[in-house]
């Protein structure tokens, strides 16, 4: 039973792992770039979750032709294309801010930044 779950649901384990690693990195890392990476990993977990939702055993690509069904659901794919675009824009803005912080303070470490504030 457990083995069965492991072999048929491994995508979901990957989702949980990615979400966990991402969230942990965002909270735990003091380095601003690593925080942005953690944020990306977290989002990737969600992308994988949606794509897994769309899967259907013995499903065909959703291009309608005679007798080709059943199809996998195309909707989550489209949603995730949009979400990827959103994620790229967020990463771009985040990295732009990181560059600005680094060029001013010469550090990306949160603790060092805190210290610089109080000086």
């Amino acid at each position: 039973m457990t083995l069965d779950l492991l072999t048929t649901h491994y995508n979901y384990y990957a989702v949980v792992l990615l979400l966990g690693i991402g969230l942990y990195t965002v909270i735990e890392s003091r380095n601003l770039v690593k925080k942005v990476i953690g944020m990306n990993v977290f989002q990737t977990g969600i992308f994988l979750f949606f794509i897994t939702l769309a899967y259907r055993a013995a499903g065909n690509p959703p291009v309608v032709t005679e007798g080709a069904g059943p199809y996998v659901s195309p909707l989550p794919h489209v949603l995730i294309l949009t979400a990827i675009v959103v994620g790229v824009s967020l990463t771009a803005v985040a990295l732009a801010l990181v560059v600005r912080v680094y060029s001013e303070y010469g550090t990306l470490d949160e603790d060092t930044l805190e210290q610089l504030y109080h000086d």
Binding site: F42, Q43, L75, V93, A94, L97, E104, L113
Partner: protein
């Protein structure tokens, strides 16, 4: 044209936002003019839409002609148009303020219009995934605006806001995924039916509720996930803090109300009492913790930011109690808080420019040096405390009555105590402003030259103060609007 009113609310500011970057090639300071013309157009559209909803009831619009539930649907009911009109009005107020106060860069006004587009989109959408997209557009524009301050502190504040805000929006998206897995649809009206069919005790539905609500609460900034908010408000330019403190959390709280009442419905809250209890508890903790943190602040803008954490606790408590009276109260307080908090941030900006005072101690005895701003600040603060006849009183009063109706006595106690706590941090400031000896010598500012303040800035703040009292007269209209278009659906 008239059929497309609702979609133009989003399209117009996006088109407007594309103009300043191109105009920069020729003109230096065209951004403000473009933003003002576009926002005036937005206000006209909002007015026309409000009139249509008032006379004909709920407006539904299928984007691109793809019928719901397959296409994206835009919906405007009584609650929507209140928010749309609020967005227009606050944007115009902030533009009047920013004309002199800046920032003056063309790119700033592009982001400003993108934020207006994102907020309008969040308000009118009837599709949960579309709401996610607009949530992120709003977020991206807000991060950019926060970072538009001169110092690097604003960049650090924006980055913190970005990381936490993205996690919040991602949790919301994950919740949408669970709802999609349970029902196979993304349309709000369709979801409300199919979630009931899936069964309110289904794990998928419960997880979807938890994740969606948690994600939106990050955006609203309730305690303990408010940590991005004080930095973002205090470290950004005063035009920006007035704008985002008035609108961004407000529209997120509206989105939460939309999810509660249009997607999960009151039946869900009845069927799963733990969901309601959890939400009310989080809101109450936020009311108390936000006030306590506000009392502990020495910087005025930080104090105002923590005050928002507490006031949004009130609003969310009202929505979670979910009786018509409590929801009407939460709506009135949502709109009222936007006007009052935006006005308070703008007034604190004027006081800082005129006198250099930014801390509670610095506010001592400076009322005479910035009489209009200090007067408006005091009126707005008293309105926020809930002194009748200000709009802050009506909102809180309705929420308390709703809680009494629902028999939630511990909540009633917290709500009443919150008024005292609000008084605790605002009375301190009022006392300093008018009755204490000045600690900042007038000469020290005069030597700096003291930044000039335009009439438009003062007028904006005074109008906010007048509205904080005058909006009370509009409460019956709000009641009627909600009765006609929201409660019918909620209680059927």
């Amino acid at each position: 044209m008239i059929d497309h009113l609702i979609v133009l609310l989003v399209v117009l500011p996006i088109l407007g936002a594309a103009v300043p970057p191109f105009a920069s090639l020729r003109y230096d300071r065209i951004g403000w003019a473009v933003a003002t013309v576009t926002t005036l157009g937005h206000a006209a559209l909002a007015g026309a839409l409000a009139w249509t909803v008032w006379t004909d009831g709920i407006v539904r619009y299928a984007v691109g002609g793809f019928a719901a539930p397959y296409g994206i649907e835009l919906v405007a009911d009584g609650l929507t148009i209140l928010l749309v009109v609020l967005i227009s009005a606050v944007s115009l107020g902030v533009l009047a303020y920013a004309r002199h106060a800046g920032p003056h860069a063309n790119s700033f006004y592009s982001q400003f219009l993108l934020l207006v587009a994102g907020l309008s989109g969040m308000t009118v959408t009837g599709d949960v995934f579309n709401l996610y997209v607009f949530l992120e557009i709003t977020g991206l524009a807000a991060y950019g605006l926060v970072a538009s301050g001169p110092g690097v502190r604003s960049a650090v504040a924006a980055l913190k806001y970005l990381v936490i805000g993205t996690i919040g929006a991602s949790l919301y998206l994950l919740g949408v995924g669970y709802a999609l897995a349970a029902t196979g649809t993304l349309n709000m009206a369709d979801l409300s039916v199919k979630l009931a069919d899936a069964g309110y005790d289904s794990t998928l539905v419960l997880t979807a509720f938890g994740l969606i609500v948690a994600g939106l609460l990050v955006k609203v900034a309730l305690f303990p996930i408010h940590t991005w908010q004080p930095d973002a408000y205090a470290d950004s330019p005063d035009s920006v803090s007035a704008f985002i403190s008035a609108l961004v959390s407000t529209v997120s709280a509206y989105a939460l109300a939309r999810v509660l009442f249009s997607v999960f419905t009151v039946d869900f809250l009845e069927a799963v009492p733990i969901a309601r209890r959890a939400l009310v508890t989080v809101a109450c903790v936020s009311i108390v913790a936000g006030s306590a943190l506000a009392v502990a602040q020495s910087e005025v803008q930080r104090m105002l930011a923590y005050s928002s954490v507490s006031q949004f606790g009130l609003v969310i408590a009202g929505f979670a109690i979910a009786t018509p009276l409590a929801v009407a109260g939460a709506t009135v307080h949502l709109v009222g808080h936007a006007v009052m908090k935006g006005g308070l941030f703008a007034a604190s900006g004027i006081i800082e420019r005129k006198t250099g005072a930014t801390t509670v101690g610095g506010y001592a005895g400076i009322a005479g040096r910035a009489p209009a701003a200090a007067g408006a600040f005091t009126v707005l603060a008293l309105a926020m405390v809930g002194v009748p006849p200000a709009v802050g009183f009506v909102g809180k009063w309705y929420i308390v009555l709703g809680a009494v109706d629902a028999g939630l006595w511990p909540v009633v106690v917290v709500l009443l105590a919150s008024t005292l706590l609000t008084l605790a941090y605002f009375a301190r400031l009022g006392e300093r402003l008018y009755f204490a000896e000045a600690t900042i010598a007038p000469e020290s500012v005069a030597a700096d030259g003291g930044e000039r303040v335009s009439t438009a800035m003062i007028v904006t703040v005074v109008v906010a103060a007048v509205l904080a009292v005058g909006l009370t007269a509009a409460v019956p209209v709000v009641d009627q609007l909600l009765d006609k278009t929201v409660f019918e659906l909620m209680l059927q």
